[in-house]
């Protein structure tokens, strides 16, 4: 197979970028999208030209490194997968393919298709944790957690922090990412004591980092490689309202024996 690639090239953060066209030849249907790009890069390097910079590491859809907008869609045309899980059999022979980086105010471009996603780490640092010291934890079975609850927490915890949700959103909002973490921790008894502070802190930093607000378009869910549901955004909004109520000194809903007191 062969393809005509239209790739965004940009030398550095402050340089002007543009699309360049490359031919990908001798591609087989069983090659992954990134292996196809490897092939193009090998050709460029052998000629002494700088290869196209892009991110990848695990190549199995779990590390969240890979981050390409393919024909306008973060992670490409298929739902529920990352860029590295896309195979060339998905494209008709001879097709033209456009490849761009994540574009969002909070994700400045470093080079070509590589962006700086540290803003997501800073959102996590604001409160995406349970502040428990190492050592001295009680036995893991002391607090029972129903299977359903654990499964729902796991659904939310599956987020790989890739940022596709941000790249897909017109407002470049990180709501789905934040919602996943806040919901994961709020669903578990261990996460409840800090839930009020957590949601406010994480949303505060999200705003400060230049992520936009949620416009309820659900583009994020459509591109999320882990199928994180927008229902978690609803849960996030509820958490946020709840935090407001608690901060007013009013009792939060008596929904579980572990709910904190104000």
């Amino acid at each position: 197979m062969k393809f005509s690639l239209n790739i965004w090239r940009q030398k550095g953060p402050d340089e002007k970028g543009s699309f360049m066209t490359y031919e990908a030849r001798d591609v087989s249907a069983g090659m992954s999208f990134l292996e196809m790009l490897d092939g193009v890069n090998q050709g460029l390097i052998a000629k002494g030209e700088e290869p196209v910079a892009f991110e990848q590491d695990c190549r199995e859809g779990i590390c969240g490194s890979c981050s390409l907008v393919i024909n306008g869609i973060p992670h490409g045309p298929d739902r529920g997968i990352t860029t590295c899980q896309l195979y060339m059999r998905r494209f008709p022979d001879g097709a033209a393919i456009t490849i761009e980086p994540w574009r969002a105010r909070a994700f400045p471009i470093i080079k070509d298709l590589v962006v700086d996603r540290r803003a997501l780490d800073r959102v996590m640092q604001a409160g995406g944790y349970i502040s428990v010291n190492t050592g001295g934890a009680v036995d893991g079975n002391v607090l029972l957690i129903s299977k359903d609850q654990a499964e729902t927490a796991m659904d939310a915890a599956s987020c790989i922090g890739c940022g596709a949700c941000v790249a897909a959103c017109k407002n470049a909002s990180a709501m789905l990412f934040v919602a996943a973490k806040v919901s994961h921790l709020a669903l578990l008894p261990q996460g409840k004591p800090e839930r009020t502070r957590r949601v406010k802190a994480m949303l505060g930093v999200m705003d400060r980092e230049g992520f936009g607000s949620c416009g309820n378009q659900n583009e994020c869910e459509a591109v999320c490689p882990k199928g994180i549901s927008v229902r978690f955004i609803a849960a996030l909004n509820r958490e946020y309202l709840r935090a407001g109520v608690v901060e007013l000194g009013l009792p939060a809903e008596p929904e579980s024996p572990h709910a904190e007191s104000a």
Binding site: G30, E55, C58, G128, V132, S146, Q190
Partner: protein, 637 residues
């Protein structure tokens, strides 16, 4: 002259660790604030260590080459983590986990370390639950378990097929907390390229900022390496493409002994390699062997489709060879059994590099839904990569390099032969001997990082005499110069070949001569080919661009250059070990049935290699004394 002192506490096995902890000196809280520790790596080992050290009050500087600590290779671990909780009441105990691990490692690990690992294992689970890790649960709300290869109890805790991800995100969240508190300074996209040793003590590292290309020295009171394994020396492996040997190899050149480099684990169940452009191999979790049955046709060159081959003409070779463990035979034995049937011409699929992993029986007995619930994500992954539907035809699988038991030598305190240089996680050699059991690397990484290193490093910091040093110390400057020279050499070669082409070549050489089975002739021929390949690399490699920019090819070429040296060390070790043990199978040393023949009289030791400039590495031996278990022939039949 290098001296190997394992510093194993005397006395009964069960109380060694407690007594040791009690006798260790502590650093006072006031002094901790004045102490800086460098942690390189943010996988399970590095993230858990950095966060715990930060919590204890040390100033921590933490490094990783990915753009975020959360993306370390540990994220990809699928199957689970072991712990001797005995929640299933199936006869598990600290003693049994200890014994399984020692035996699984073919009696090539240290009793005291392994016992400690088993002892702290239960505490790891508690810690992880406290951090909010959503482990699988039973309907009653208790933690669920499953079984894994090489053992007869059910002691593996898991989060669907994403256990590594959840454990790492837990450790990462603990790290985030310490970053927020100002205890840890995180430096992502920063690669360690050398170690700074001053007055015989590890006092810093040289790093390259991968975004700006700036090379600089960071000094500290101690350095912790948690940089993972080196399976990628084989080019194709199940590891993330960025995993590499550079940090540990550079430390080796500065005086840290490298132990048992030839103990490399080849995992039996990966998706078979496809075409020449393939960049990595994808693991199919070992948990699949709980229900899947491995087989090949009885006759060679039987090209019928699997459904047309009647049961009587199939060879369920693991069940035949290891009736007691069947399809759950340990990894090393399973991989070699696969290789054996493929060598007989009975392999299936392209090039005969494959065997079937068949779920038809369990689907028959328990239904498609049960199998879908258990392994759905793995079957999906398989389909995406191969385009085949494993619910209706058996999977094809083939062994792949996966994990490295070898690593930098460490004593009981996890300190290398360079004082002040600690090594944790897959990067060290400890605990797994000549073969690692499934689900025990995550356990070891977190044991080292959360529960062991934070104690043992304290004793060193409380007792070592440490002068104040900085970037301008002459050793710092010398180390910086080494790195700058090397980067320059890579950029100036301006040859015709890509670094990947060399990587592929050295990988293939190792796979053929130092892979699943090894022999003297092959190893010797590899040892003559590697130096000339290395010379060609330095003459003919092409690295475009400059050093002062974000330059991924430069990063990669540096790693390949190290593989081209390290490959030689690996082969030296494999050549000298004239026995078969665990993952190290020397064809000359096997029984009539093809089972490995260990030689305790000559090789019951850890092989620790010392770097010598311009000469072959020097071998040092740490004898393994078995006081509490008697090494037996490791039989799973």
């Amino acid at each position: 002259m290098m001296k190997l002192d394992p510093r194993i506490p005397a006395g009964p096995l069960e109380t060694k660790w407690d007594r040791h902890r009690f006798s260790e000196k502590l650093v006072s809280p006031n002094n901790k604030r004045k102490i800086t520790v460098i942690v390189v790596g943010t996988g399970l080992a590095g993230a858990s260590a950095a966060s715990t050290l930060g919590q204890l009050g040390y100033q921590v500087e933490c490094f990783c080459f990915q753009d975020s600590p959360r993306r370390a290779h540990s994220i990809a671990a699928q199957g689970g983590i072991n712990a001797a909780k005995n929640y299933q009441d199936d006869g598990d105990s600290v003693g049994r986990l200890f014994y399984d691990t020692i035996k699984g490692g073919d009696f090539r690990s240290r009793e005291a370390n392994v016992y400690r690992l088993a002892q702290v294992s239960a505490q790891i689970i508690d810690q992880c639950v406290a951090l909010g890790i959503p482990f699988a649960r039973e309907y009653g709300g208790q933690l669920a378990n499953r079984s894994f290869g090489g053992v007869q109890v059910s002691r593996t805790f898991y989060c669907r097929g994403q256990t590594g991800q959840q454990l790492l995100l837990g450790a990462y969240s603990a790290l985030c907390w310490q970053i927020e508190r100002g205890q840890v300074t995180m430096r992502p996209r920063t690669e360690m390229l050398d170690l700074v040793v001053i007055d015989g003590q590890a006092r810093g590292i040289v790093v390259r900022d991968l975004v700006t290309g700036r090379v600089s020295v960071h000094t500290a009171h101690a350095v912790v390496l948690a940089t993972g394994g080196y399976s990628n020396v084989y080019y194709l492996s199940t590891n993330a493409t960025g995993s590499n040997v550079t940090a540990t190899y550079r430390a080796w050149k500065q005086g840290a002994a490298f132990a048992n480099p030839c103990f490399t684990q080849i995992h039996p169940t990966a998706i078979p390699p496809g075409d020449a452009h393939q960049a990595k191999l994808t693991l199919m979790s070992e948990s699949l062997r709980n229900d899947g049955r491995l087989w090949v046709p009885k006759a060679a060159a039987d090209y019928r489709s699997p459904g047309d081959i009647p049961a009587a003409e199939r060879d369920y070779f693991l069940e035949r060879r290891y009736p007691r463990f069947g399809n759950l035979a340990p990894r090393d034995l399973a991989s070699r059994a696969v290789k054996a049937v493929c060598d007989e011409g009975r392999g299936i699929g392209p090039g005969g590099h494959g065997v079937y992993l068949d779920f038809a029986d369990v689907i028959d007995q328990q239904g498609l839904d049960v199998v879908r619930e258990r392994y759905g994500n793995l079957f999906d992954m398989y389909q995406r990569i191969t385009g085949e539907d494993a619910y209706h035809a058996p999977m094809r699988i083939y062994p792949a390099p996966h994990y490295t038991m070898g690593g930098l030598w460490v004593d009981y305190n996890l300190m290398s032969t360079v004082p002040g240089l600690f090594v944790i996680g897959e990067a060290n050699f400890a605990d797994h001997g000549a073969n690692r059991l499934g689900a025990s690397s995550l356990m070891q990484g977190l044991a080292d990082g959360y529960l062991i290193l934070p104690y043992t490093i304290g004793h060193y910091l409380a007792t070592a005499k440490l002068i104040s040093v900085g970037e301008d110390h002459k050793e710092s400057r010398a180390a910086l110069q080494r790195v700058t020279n090397r980067v320059g050499r890579l950029l100036n070669a301006k040859g015709h070949r890509t670094a990947a082409s060399f990587h592929r070549e050295v990988g293939k050489l190792l796979w053929n001569h130092c892979g699943m089975s090894r022999n003297e002739e092959g190893l010797k021929s590899a040892l003559t080919s590697i130096p000339s390949l290395r010379e060609e690399f330095w003459r003919d490699v092409m690295v475009p661009g400059s050093g002062e920019i974000f330059n991924q090819e430069l990063e990669y070429a540096g790693r390949v250059a190290d593989y081209l040296e390290f490959a030689e060390l690996l082969c030296h070790d494999a050549l000298h070990r004239e026995e078969s043990c665990g993952a190290h199978f020397r064809e000359e040393f096997q029984t009539d049935e093809g089972e490995p023949q260990r030689d305790d009289s000559r090789f019951s030791y850890v092989a620790a290699w010392e770097y010598r400039e311009g000469a072959s590495p020097t071998l040092h031996k740490e004898p393994l004394a078995f006081e509490f278990v008697a090494p037996t022939r490791r039989s799973y039949q």
